[in-house]
Each structure stands twice: as structure tokens, then as C-alpha cells.
Symmetry: C2
Subunit: 233 residues, 2 copies
């Protein structure tokens, strides 16, 4: 018998992956328990646990106490998108980053904005619009409202050289947030900034962040036509 000895959790994981990919363990199958695998591989149960846990986090295995571990019947591919500071995103692509503040006003917000931020309709909030450039071409349009009740310091910033994007990240913590991806037709204003035809299909990323129970900011980033967000699965 060819007993695969595996003393590291990575090698255990590799062997488990091999068996899944080779369909020795098929989708839905119950696999041997940790103790058995540990014995087979000649390593500690802790090591097997580490390997299987990490595969379960990735969605390839499903584990339940007492019930055991099974290969996910329909593995949900998890696509992890890195939402970085836009400047870094541009620079990482080897392009020259540019930034233009388009609008900065402190005023009473549209009701859907104050509702989303959970503040009174009478509150003055900070509205910032900015254009991010890649090699002088429009890259993304950022349309942001900042909860000035929770983040009064934002009112002191002019956001002319440092984007609200970066200033907030450096200065205001958040504990949780929601993000959504969608496609939107370019408005006349969008089209003007992004230098594209009106009604072009734009990739939109909407974010709403919170610091405990206080909203911080709501932002929509519209990317220029053709933009792709990529990742591996």
C-alpha cells in the first residue's frame, strides 16, 4: 500500500484536494473523520483539522459536529474582490494616477441618502464628488455622502488633494459595511465626467459603512465603460 505520509497541514490539504478533484471523494460524499485521516497520514488530528477547516472556509467541504465532513454537493464559488484605495488600484496596473475634486458641498441631503445613513432629514451632510484618472483618462467617478454628524472633522477637509476615499480610511474607523455591485446607465452628468456616451453601461459599486451604530459614509463608485473587476476562484 502506498500510504501518503503528510506531516504538514498543507500536504494533507493537497492530498484531500487531489482526492476531491480525482473524484475519489465525490460531491456529497462523507469523507473519513479526522482521527482516521490522521492515522492514515501519520500526523496529529490537529493537523488534519487545520487542513479540513481551511477547505471548509473556502466552501469546498461542509462540516458538522457529529455528522462529519462531506464534499460540498454544489460548491459555492467564493469570489473575493479586493476593494482597495482607487489610487493603489490604478498604480498597481502600472498607470499614472490622477485625481480631480468635482464638487464639495455641505447641505441637507436627499431623503434616500439621509435615510440610508440613518440621520434626520434636516441634518447637513457632506457631499463630495471626485473623478479618479488613470493616465489622464477618466477611470472612476466617486459620489459620496459623509455623515457629518458622526464625522464632524470631515467638514474641515477640502478634499482637493487627498480623496475622501483615502482620508476616511486613514481617519475614521468602521466596524461593518455593505457593498453591492450592479450595472447602471450613465446619466448625462456621469457621461460628462467619464467622457462617455449617455446611457453607457457602467459598473457601479455601492458601499455603506458603519462605526458600530453610527453610519459613516455612503458612496457610489461608477467605473468607466469596459471596466472589469477580476479575481481567481
Amino acid at each position: 500500500m502506498n500510504v501518503p505520509t503528510a506531516q504538514t497541514w498543507q500536504s494533507v490539504q493537497k492530498e484531500v484536494l487531489r482526492r476531491i478533484h480525482a473524484r475519489e471523494w465525490k460531491p456529497g460524499d462523507l469523507i473519513p473523520n479526522e482521527a482516521e485521516l490522521a492515522k492514515e497520514f501519520g500526523c496529529a488530528r490537529t493537523t488534519v483539522n487545520r487542513a479540513l477547516r481551511s477547505l471548509a472556509e473556502g466552501g469546498l467541504l461542509e462540516r458538522r459536529r457529529k455528522a462529519g465532513t462531506r464534499v460540498a454537493a454544489q460548491p459555492v464559488a467564493k469570489a473575493t474582490l479586493n476593494i482597495a484605495v482607487i489610487r493603489h488600484e490604478v498604480e498597481d496596473r502600472g498607470a499614472r494616477y490622477g485625481y480631480q475634486l468635482a464638487l464639495r458641498e455641505a447641505r441637507i441631503a436627499p431623503t434616500h441618502i439621509s435615510a440610508a445613513l440613518g440621520v434626520g432629514v434636516q441634518e447637513r451632510l457632506l457631499h463630495v464628488m471626485a473623478l479618479h484618472l488613470s493616465n489622464d483618462a477618466p477611470y472612476a467617478l466617486e459620489d459620496r455622502w459623509i455623515n457629518a454628524v458622526h464625522v464632524p472633522d470631515a467638514l474641515k477637509q477640502d478634499f482637493r488633494s487627498v480623496s475622501a476615499n483615502e482620508w476616511l480610511l486613514q481617519n475614521v474607523p468602521y466596524t461593518r459595511g455593505e457593498i453591492s455591485f450592479s450595472a447602471k446607465p450613465a446619466s448625462a452628468e456621469n457621461a460628462n465626467y467619464l467622457n462617455c456616451p449617455e446611457k453607457s453601461a457602467l459598473l457601479a459599486v455601492d458601499r455603506l459603512t458603519w462605526d458600530h451604530d453610527q453610519s459613516v459614509t455612503v458612496v457610489q463608485v461608477l467605473f468607466a465603460p469596459g471596466h472589469q473587476m477580476r479575481t481567481r476562484i
Copy 2:
């Protein structure tokens, strides 16, 4: 002194998170090493390691041997999107799922498809288009090419009741893949299937999967206008 005793890795993690959110440890700061934290919390170093490792995986901490652990200066928000079987996606929203096969043909593919799949331009591939419905309304249009050289069994399937989406997941393993998100204007054909105006902004998800060195399938899923993919960060 109020010494926070924390015997579980979750409680250690919680306290570390609290300190980061409270800016006791600021972005870029070096935090105490594992041994010190273990002493402070009155737990084993293993426990601290587990807590910090998991925060590092989430991008909130940066760790380097010998150099120590620091709070990420500009935490890259990681948005993890679950790419599930479309039927499940619809049913999870509490809607009735419907499926219509629109096209199924085995033929020589356009060059950009055979190039993407890494097969000869003369090879006959399987082309499948299908409409996914949610409460009888168009939900998503799936346009797929299957590498019939690597997956000859696909040619035996008619995909009239089971979507290629689900059949492949059940029957053909893949070891890696690429996924990209973008916005596209609806073609006349798209608009016809999705029952929307031509040139509507559609959210497009493009996937290419591989089984080791063999391509499996390339697929584009176009969602009906207004569709959002959401997640928490």
C-alpha cells in the same frame, strides 16, 4: 488594572478588534507580539495566533516573521461574493425558479472562444444558451461554451431540464478558474431574452474554469437590468 482575560480565540479577536476600532492601535501601528498578548490575556500563544491569523486573512492585520504584526495601514476591504447555482440564488430569495433552454449546438466556435479555452480552432465545442427565470420573469441569461474535447460527456446531455450550470458542477471537477465582473449594454438578442430595452446596462459575470491544464468551460451570465450582487464587508 483591568486585565481582560480571554480564553477563547474569538474573545481575543474581539478585544483586538476593539482596540483597532477604538484606535488604541492605529493603522500602521506595530502591535505587541503573540507571547506578550498571550501573557496579557492569560491564554496560550496558540490561541492568540489563531485570533491574529484569522484577522490577517481578512486583511486587517499584516504579519511578517520577525518583523511582527501591524494594523494594516489601508485595509483592503475584501468583498466575498458567493457565486452559487442560479437556481439556488433564486430560490433563496423566496422566488419560484424557472429554466428555459434557448440554444444548444455543437459547432466550431468563434476564435476568441477557442482561444480562451485553449483548444484548436477546428474543434467542435458545445454551445448552450439558457434563460433563468424568477417568478416567470427573466432573471439571467447564460451563454456558455463547453470544451467538448475535455468533457465529451457533455455532448450526450440535452440540457433541457437540467441546466449546464448544474450538470457541470455535479459531473465535471475544476481545479481553478477566473471570474470577472463588468457592465455591458444589452445586444438585440440579449434584450429579446431578458425582455428589456436594447442597450440596457446589464451586470455581466464572466467565468473561465480549468481542470488542471484542461479548460472546462467559459460562460457569461448576464443579469436582468437592476440586478444587484450584495455582500457584507
